[in-house]
């Protein structure tokens, strides 16, 4: 049986302590700039905060993984190098990277620190994963959310590194790390600026008479919710649109829905998944506490040979809906 490490999100020092206290095996976080894919206002860590956070986590036996999982634009790679240097200096346990140049820099400059390949690298074949392992010494790959469990089992046989899969949280587009939808409307890049639907471009407009709410990005209305309808994130991929063949309007890309693989944990462990990742660095301490506790209990039950008793987490899901996505079947969407 794999160790089934629980990898948990933290957007602030308080969230990191919450994750540690709730039973995280490792916490992943980022610094306050474009080097990570949750470069949101008021979120993430200063260098001083990260230093203290690493000390707190290590005191409690928890690892800290630093997300450097965006792509440096030409001529701006110094920001990523500096973040890597800082992380190595203060003793983070691994870097989560997507860009080959960043991976190469870390492999050459800080070879003592583990490299994990971010989901943003979208490496989904044994050949692609082996390339990162052989050239940059990657020790773990975070798989894109497009694979079934039998496919994961097959990949595991053919790669020389650990596998991490998402088990809960935001369910993004399928070619991860390649999404340009935000860029299309706002001019800012999810993959290079670290901002999917930047808050500065988001506006919610409530119609007091009807109770309807419009969700707008960059001046474009991307969805409108009825007064009693559950809402989702203001992302283009989860907007509702009409088209000539669908005049009634529909979710063209994705629905407001979250991934929840709590029912598939035993199968994932059986397929050789080494670590389970919970999405949500942008979420609150309350989310971190409840989700980490629930999965800590579930993983411990499974490892002890008991049937996992998974808490109901639907209230924390986007649109209050959950899916097992492609992990369950390729027929998903």
């Amino acid at each position: 049986m794999s160790l089934a490490e629980l990898i948990c999100p933290a957007g602030t020092p308080a969230a990191l302590r919450t994750a540690v206290d709730a039973g995280a095996d490792a916490v992943y976080c980022g610094v306050q700039d474009a080097t990570n894919a949750r470069n949101f206002p008021g979120l993430n860590f200063t260098v001083e905060e990260l230093t203290e956070a690493v000390a707190y986590a290590h005191t409690h036996g928890t690892k800290v993984l630093l997300a450097l999982n965006t792509y440096p634009p030409a001529g701006k790679v110094d920001l990523w190098r500096q973040a890597a240097d800082t992380g190595a200096r203060i003793g983070v346990d691994a870097f989560i990277v997507a860009d080959m140049g960043v991976a190469d820099y870390i492999a050459r400059t800080h070879p003592q620190v583990r490299l994990h390949l971010s989901v943003q690298a979208a490496a989904s074949s044994p050949e692609a994963i082996r390339y990162y392992c052989e050239n940059f010494g990657v020790k773990r790959v975070v798989l894109p959310r497009i694979l079934t469990i039998p496919e994961i089992r097959e990949i595991r046989k053919e790669i020389p590194c650990e596998i991490e899969t998402f088990i809960f949280g935001n369910h993004g587009l399928m070619v991860e790390g390649r999404c340009s939808l935000t860029n299309y409307l706002t001019g800012q890049s999810t993959n290079m600026d670290g901002v999917c639907s930047p808050a500065s471009d988001v506006e919610y407009i409530r119609d007091e008479a009807t109770g309807e709410m419009s969700s707008c990005l960059g001046g474009f209305t991307i969805d409108r919710f009825g007064p009693q309808e559950m809402a989702g994130y203001p992302t283009i991929c989860k907007g509702r649109y009409t088209a000539p063949h669908r005049p009634e309007g529909y979710y063209a890309f994705e629905e407001p829905v979250s991934l929840n693989l709590s029912r598939l944990l035993p199968e994932l462990i059986g397929a050789g998944v080494h670590a389970f990742k919970i999405e949500g660095r942008q979420r609150s301490k309350s989310y971190v506490r409840n989700v980490v506790r629930a999965f800590r209990q579930a993983v411990d039950d499974i490892r002890a040979g008991r049937e996992a008793n998974i808490a109901d987490l639907v209230a924390l899901t986007e649109g209050q809906k959950q899916t097992m996505g492609a992990f369950e079947t390729k027929k998903w969407r």
């Binding site: 308080a14 008021g42 209305t221 559950m230 309007g249 407001p256 609150s284 409840n290």
Partner: protein, 205 residues
């Protein structure tokens, strides 16, 4: 989703010049929001304006003491607000006869009860049931989940709200309990009772 829209689509112009329409209205399969329609009932009561002004006067000393104590105990909160320290927020607990005007500027801290019809122009408004707002301040509830459920409404500058949320979420301990503690045991007893009532209302336990 296969649900059919119940109302007419509103066309908007796509960035590529093509027509991008969106549908709106309720879609089958979505959950009910029990809080919908509860906003602002107090403002419809007879004589509500006078009531609101009296209530504002009564609670103001409490608010002033509360915000000063929080600012003193949690100075790191202001760094996460960045330039939005000088922003004006209207926090609107829907059951109360007044709203709260917050300007989290450490050099000119403002936290005032204001009648809704006399509220100043603000950067952003955060509206929801009082206990939900209290739970959010203490990170006992998740803001995104409250937003998804439509119990929480935000309007205005979204970045301002996100910064405030992240700043408050990084506060260790309970702001509500600190506030209740200002009033000794009676304050703590009231908070405990409010929380118990909220828990029962939401869980049935």
């Amino acid at each position: 989703m296969k649900g059919k829209a119940s109302s007419v689509a509103q066309p908007i112009a796509g960035a590529d010049g093509n027509r991008v329409d969106l549908q709106h209205g309720r879609t089958p399969g979505n959950h009910e929001n029990p809080m919908a329609g509860s906003a602002g009932w107090a403002s419809r009561l007879p004589g509500h304006r006078g009531l609101a002004r009296i209530a504002c006067t009564m609670v103001q000393p409490l608010l002033t003491r509360t915000v000063r104590k929080i600012a003193r105990n949690h100075t790191s909160l202001f760094a996460r607000l960045g330039p939005y320290r000088e922003a004006d927020f209207l926090i609107d607990p829907v059951e109360l006869p007044f709203a709260l005007h917050l300007r989290p500027d450490p050099d000119n801290l403002t936290f005032c009860a204001v009648p809704r019809d006399a509220a100043p122009p603000v950067t952003a408004t955060i509206q929801g049931p009082f206990m939900l707002l209290l739970q959010l301040i203490d990170a006992d509830e998740d803001g995104d989940a409250a937003f998804f459920s439509r119990a929480l409404t935000i309007t205005g500058d979204t970045e301002a709200v996100v910064r405030l949320r992240n700043a408050l979420d990084d506060v260790d301990g309970s702001i509500a309990e600190e506030t209740a503690g200002l009033f000794g045991r009676p304050g703590q007893a009231i908070l405990k009772r409010l929380r118990r009532s909220y828990h029962t209302e939401n869980t049935g336990i």
